[in-house]
C-alpha cells in the first residue's frame, strides 16, 4: 500500500507542479465555462446567477372600446395597459420589472417595431376585449376576443413569457367578472327571498354605504405571475448556465486529464521509468494501481478546484456568497468521485489499447471531444431532443445532470451515481487487466 501511495503522490506532485498542466486543467475550463455561461445567460448580474429574464421590450396597443357591466363603465384593455405601463398608483407591479412596455397608437406600428427588432413582442388588445369578457344575465356566453401577441422568431423565450402573462391577466379579468356578477346576482336573489335583508340592502345601496370594492378581483397581483421551468420530476428548477456549463466543461476537461493520466503509463514506458519500476521488487499490479489512483485523485482535485473557483466567480457576480452547486456537499463530492472514476476508466482503456503516447493523444482527443459534444459541454443538449438518447450514453450527461439536480436543491441522484460508478468500475478494471497483460509480455 505504501508503494501505491508513493506512486500516486509522485504523479500528483509532478502534475500539480507543472504550470502548463495547471493552465490546461484549471484555468482553461474555468475561463471557458465562465464565457459560455455568460453568453448563454445573455448577461450575468443583478439578482443572482439564475438566468435573469427582465425588461422584455414590448409594444403595447390598446384598441379596446370598453363596455358597461351592471351599469358601470369598464375598460379591461385600459386595466391591462395600467398593469404594464408604470403609473402613479402602479409602481411596484412585478410585471414592470419583467417587461419594458411602450404604448403605441396602432397595430401596424407595433408590428413594425417587432419586425425592425426594436421590440421583442407586440401586444395588440382588440376593440371588443371588454365586451367579450363581460358576463351578465343578458350576456351569458363568454367568448373572449383573443389578444394578438406578435413576436420575433428570434425571441421565442420572451414571446412565451409574454403569452403567459396575457393569458394570466385575461383569466384574472374573466374570473373577476364572473365572480362579481355572481355575487350581485346572489345578493339580489336573497333580497327577493328575505324581505328584511332586501330592506337593509336597499337602504345601504341608496345611502351609498354599500360600495364594495371589487377591484382586487381584477388585480393579477392577487395571484402573482411566476415563471418556472418544470423538470420531468415535476419539481421547479431554474437553469443556471454557470452550473450547467461549468460542470459540463469540468467533465469535458477531466476526460482529457484522465486520458493523459493513463497515457503517462505509456510515456513512462517510453522514458524507461516504468521499466525501472518493474525492475524494482514492486508487483506490476501495485505500479498500475498507483498510476491509476494518481489519475483518479488528480481528476477529483481538478473538478473540486474548478467548482470552488466557479462558486467564487458566481458569488462575486451576485455580490454575496452563493452555493451555486447546492448545499449538499457530501452528494456533490460523491458525484465528483463517481464521475472521476468513470473518466479514469475511459482513460485507462484508451491508453491500454493504444501503442504509443501519440496514438493516445489523437484517439483520446477525439473521444473526449465526442463525449463533450454529446455530453453538453458546448451547448444545452436539452435544446436538441434528437441527440438526447446518445447523450445518455456518456458519463458527461450523467455527471452534468447530477450536478444540475443538486444545484436545484434536489437530491435525486441515485441513478446518476450508479451509472457513473458502473461505467467507471467496469472500464477501470478492463484497463487494468489489459495493461497488466501488456506489461507481462
Amino acid at each position: 500500500m505504501r508503494k501505491i501511495l508513493a506512486i500516486t503522490w509522485k504523479d500528483l506532485y509532478t502534475t500539480f507542479t507543472d504550470r502548463n498542466l495547471i493552465l490546461i486543467m484549471i484555468v482553461t475550463p474555468l475561463a471557458l465555462s465562465t464565457i459560455i455561461g455568460s453568453a448563454f445567460s445573455g448577461f450575468i448580474g443583478g439578482g443572482g446567477n439564475d438566468v435573469p429574464v427582465r425588461d422584455i421590450p414590448i409594444a403595447l396597443v390598446n384598441l379596446d372600446q370598453g363596455g358597461n357591466a351592471n351599469g358601470q363603465d369598464v375598460n379591461y384593455g385600459q386595466m391591462f395597459v395600467d398593469l404594464l405601463i408604470p403609473t402613479r398608483t402602479n409602481t411596484s407591479s412585478p410585471l414592470l420589472a419583467l417587461t419594458d412596455a411602450t404604448l403605441l397608437g396602432n397595430a401596424a406600428a407595433a408590428r413594425a417595431s417587432v419586425n425592425s427588432g426594436s421590440k421583442s413582442v407586440a401586444i395588440i388588445i382588440p376593440e371588443d376585449y371588454t365586451s367579450s369578457l363581460t358576463y351578465s344575465q343578458d350576456h351569458p356566453d363568454v367568448r373572449v376576443s383573443p389578444i394578438e401577441v406578435y413576436s420575433s422568431p428570434a425571441a421565442t423565450i420572451s414571446a412565451g413569457i409574454v403569452r403567459s402573462i396575457v393569458e394570466n391577466i385575461t383569466n384574472t379579468f374573466l374570473t373577476g367578472s364572473v365572480t362579481v356578477e355572481a355575487t350581485i346576482e346572489a345578493l339580489i336573489a336573497r333580497a327577493q327571498d328575505d324581505p328584511a335583508f332586501g330592506l337593509q340592502f336597499g337602504v345601504a345601496s341608496a345611502s351609498g354605504s354599500f360600495q364594495p370594492d371589487f377591484a382586487p378581483a381584477f388585480q393579477p397581483d392577487a395571484a402573482p405571475i411566476t415563471i418556472e421551468q418544470q423538470t420531468v420530476r415535476g419539481q421547479a428548477q431554474t437553469f443556471n448556465p454557470l452550473v450547467f456549463f461549468g460542470s459540463a466543461q469540468a467533465l469535458f476537461f477531466m476526460t482529457f486529464t484522465a486520458i493523459q493520466g493513463a497515457n503517462s503509463m505509456l510515456e513512462e514506458r517510453r522514458d524507461w521509468t516504468l521499466q525501472r519500476l518493474i525492475a524494482s521488487p514492486t508487483p506490476r499490479i501495485t505500479i498500475l494501481l498507483g498510476k491509476l489512483l494518481g489519475t483518479w485523485v488528480t481528476c477529483i482535485f481538478q473538478v473540486t478546484l474548478l467548482f470552488i473557483f466557479l462558486t467564487l466567480i458566481g458569488s462575486l457576480i451576485a455580490g454575496e456568497l452563493q452555493l451555486i452547486w447546492g448545499s449538499n456537499l457530501l452528494a456533490i463530492l460523491a458525484v465528483i468521485v463517481a464521475a472521476s472514476l468513470a473518466m479514469c476508466g475511459i482513460g485507462a482503456v484508451v491508453a491500454a489499447l493504444a501503442r504509443t503516447p501519440e496514438q493516445v493523444n489523437v484517439v483520446g482527443g477525439i473521444i473526449a471531444i465526442a463525449l463533450g459534444l454529446f455530453g453538453g459541454a458546448f451547448f444545452n443538449i436539452q435544446s436538441i431532443p434528437q441527440i438526447a438518447p446518445i447523450s445518455r450514453l456518456t458519463p458527461n450527461y450523467w455527471g452534468t445532470d447530477a450536478f444540475a439536480t443538486l444545484a436545484a436543491g434536489q437530491n435525486d441522484i441515485g441513478m446518476n451515481l450508479v451509472v457513473l460508478t458502473v461505467i467507471g468500475g467496469v472500464l477501470f478494471l478492463a484497463g487494468l487487466a489489459i495493461f497488466n497483460r501488456r506489461l507481462s509480455v
Binding site: 505504501r2 509532478t14 524507461w272 525501472r276 519500476l277 518493474i278 525492475a279 524494482s280 514492486t282
Partner: protein, 338 residues
Amino acid sequence: MQTQIMVEVRDLTKTFKGKNGADIQAVKGISLDIRHGEIYSLLGPNGAGKTTTISMISGLLAPTRGDARIGGHSITKEPLQAKQLLGVVPQEIALYPTLSARQNLDFFGKMYGLSGSDLSRRVDEIVDFVDLRERQHDRIETFSGGMKRRVNIGVGLLNKPQLIYMDEPTVGIDPQNRRRVLDTVKRLQQEMGMTVLYTSHLMEEVQEISDRIAIIDHGEIIAEGTLGELIQQIGEEDRLTFKVGTQTVSETLLARFQREVEGVTSASYDRREIADEDSTALAHVDGVVTIMAKRGRKALPDLLRIADDAGLDVLSVEVREPDLEGVFLHLTGRALRD
C-alpha cells in the same frame, strides 16, 4: 573451492512477432554464468540482442523459453526476491525530469522498500557517491548529460544491490564524463564488491573494465572468456591496413607480401565503394589491403618497400594490435561498428 555464481542463465530465448506475423528470434538460447564480484560484459553491435538479454535477466521481459537465476532466485518464479538483489542502470535516462535529483532518489528508494531515516541516509550516501551534493535539490531537467548519467547510476545503487546491470551507460556523454562512469564501475566492484553486468558496443570500454567478456551477435553468444582468452582465438597477430585509393592490387603482389616478409600470415585486397552522403551515386572506390602479421611494426618497412617496387602508391597505413575488434572480425567477418 568452487567460485560462487551470482547469475546463472540457461537456454534464455525470446521470440517476438514481426510486422508480417512471422516469428523473430531476438535471443537464441543463451546460457552463461556470472561469478560473484566480477565485471562481466556483453559486447556486440547494435541490435545483437544485448538489451533483450538483460531485460529478461532483470524481469522486464518474460522469456519465451529458459530462465535466469540471480543469487539462486529464479527471475520467472521468484521475481521479487531476485529483483531485491538487482540494481538497474538502463541505457536511457530513466528519471523524472521535473523532480529533483533527491526526489528521484527518494521515490525509487521507496520502490525498493526503503523508508524513513534509512532512506534518507542511503540517499545522502548516493548523492555523495555520484558527487552531486551541491545540485541534489535541482530538477533533473536542468542537469547536463553527464550529471543525469550519474544520477541514473545512483538510482541503480539505492538498494545496495549484489548485482548491478548497466546497459550502455556511456552513450551520449563527453569523454570526461565517460571516464568518470568507467571509474565508477570499477569502484563498484573494488570498493563495494558488486557484481557488474555491463553491456556496450564500444570495444575499448569493455577491454578496459571487464573481467570476462561475452561477444554476442544475432542473439547468440559467439565467444566468451577473458580478454586474453578471446584474443588467443585469433593468435598474437597485428593487423596492418594499407589504403590504396582507386588502384588495383594484383594477386602476385599479395603473394610477394606473404613470401618475402617474415611473420606475414595472410594478405588480402578489398575494394570498398564509398557513396556520396547526399546521393546514391557512387562517389569513389577505396581499395584496402589487409595484412595479418606477427610483430607487424617490424614487418612494415619491408612491406612498404615491396609495394613501392610494384608501383603501388600507399596512401595511408594503420597498424592495430590484437583486440576485440579483431576477434569480432575474425568470428563474424564484420567490423563491430558496421
